[in-house]
């Protein structure tokens, strides 16, 4: 049986480049990526080799795959795996990059966010409306709206952050650094406003504990995902 293991991804929208570097480092150690897995990758043990990795985002219709993958293989990029509209390729160092100009690289990040935006933007919008509704309403309606809004926020906040990250990726390539910095500043100000509101509503002690638990959560959640997926992987691997 082939030896495999699971590693987590930093989230392609946030750290595509870092992920690709990480996959390269693992390949040097003889662990080669073979598949996408929930929030990460499956690696397979083999001979150590220096491979570089690239991601492309593209919705392929029926009858388009063969030509698409042929373009890559004839340029020295072999197809590793795909998941939906995300395609992972590997090549030897110094192979020409899969994107060679700025205009098409911008399209890459447009492709990456297009399918997501249609769902994400209304979803985030509804969550914001629910929060507003909860603030202006009272009594049991307030309680209901508040709990629904809180639950939706668990999904809406990461979704919103992912959408913002894909826009950032696109703007970076377009050379619109100003826009990237503006978004960063707005996010920082938003965080500041949230902290100030918390301070006023709950007092210093509670605010510190809320922020601390938030930070612990931000570290614990990825760790928990890694632990659960690794165990799942080991158990599943034994069965297979």
């Amino acid at each position: 049986m082939r030896q495999t293991k699971y590693i987590t991804s930093g989230g392609l929208a946030f750290s595509e480049e870092k992920d690709m570097e990480k996959l390269r480092r693992y390949s040097l150690k003889g662990w080669h990526v073979s598949d996408f897995k929930f929030m990460g990758y499956t690696l397979e043990k083999g001979e150590s080799s220096d491979y570089i990795y690239s991601i492309d985002y593209r919705l392929l219709k029926e009858g388009e795959e063969e030509e698409y993958f042929d373009f890559f293989s004839s340029s020295g990029w072999s197809h590793v795996t795909s998941e939906g509209n995300i395609h992972l390729f590997r090549a030897l160092p110094n192979t020409k990059p899969i994107y060679t100009d700025r205009e098409t690289t911008v399209e890459k990040y447009k492709n990456s966010s297009d399918s997501m935006k249609k769902l994400a933007i209304p979803f985030v919008f509804i969550t914001i409306l629910l929060w507003l509704g909860a603030i202006i309403s009272s009594g049991s309606l307030k309680t209901i709206l508040l709990s629904v809004a809180a639950i939706l926020s668990i999904f809406a906040i990461p979704t919103a952050m992912t959408v913002i990250a894909t826009y950032n990726n696109q703007w970076k390539v377009e050379g619109r650094r100003g826009l990237v910095n503006l978004v960063k500043m707005i996010l920082f100000l938003l965080l500041l406003v949230v902290v100030i509101i918390l301070l006023f509503v709950y007092g210093t002690g509670n605010t510190v504990s809320i922020l601390t638990s938030g930070m612990i959560g931000a570290i614990a959640l990825p760790t928990a995902i890694w632990v659960v997926m690794s165990i799942y992987h080991k158990v599943g691997g034994r069965r297979g």
Binding site: G63, F71, D101
Partner: protein, 105 residues
Amino acid sequence: MKKTEQLTDSMFYIMAALTKPRHGYAIMNLIEETTNRAISVGPASMYTIIKKLLKQELIYLFDESDSRRKTYLLTEKGKEVLEEELIIRKLMIQLAETGLEEGEQ
């Protein structure tokens, strides 16, 4: 003003290669060989541009009998756009050439 949008460099190279029916791999090779590898078009850029040129009806699907190696060819509109583009690019080359010559004198 021009009626069509200015072509990007990569679009221009690919259209220049499609005055005869060619598949993606042949286009990439032709561009690299012609320029002694100074210019190359990556597979993802190539695929993006082929789809774009098809949508803009500047090229059309010439032969799809081999699904791995479909061939494309310029449309009449594509030829016109390429010719217009060529005039502009020639003017810019002229500017550079005469500028350099004058500089030497």
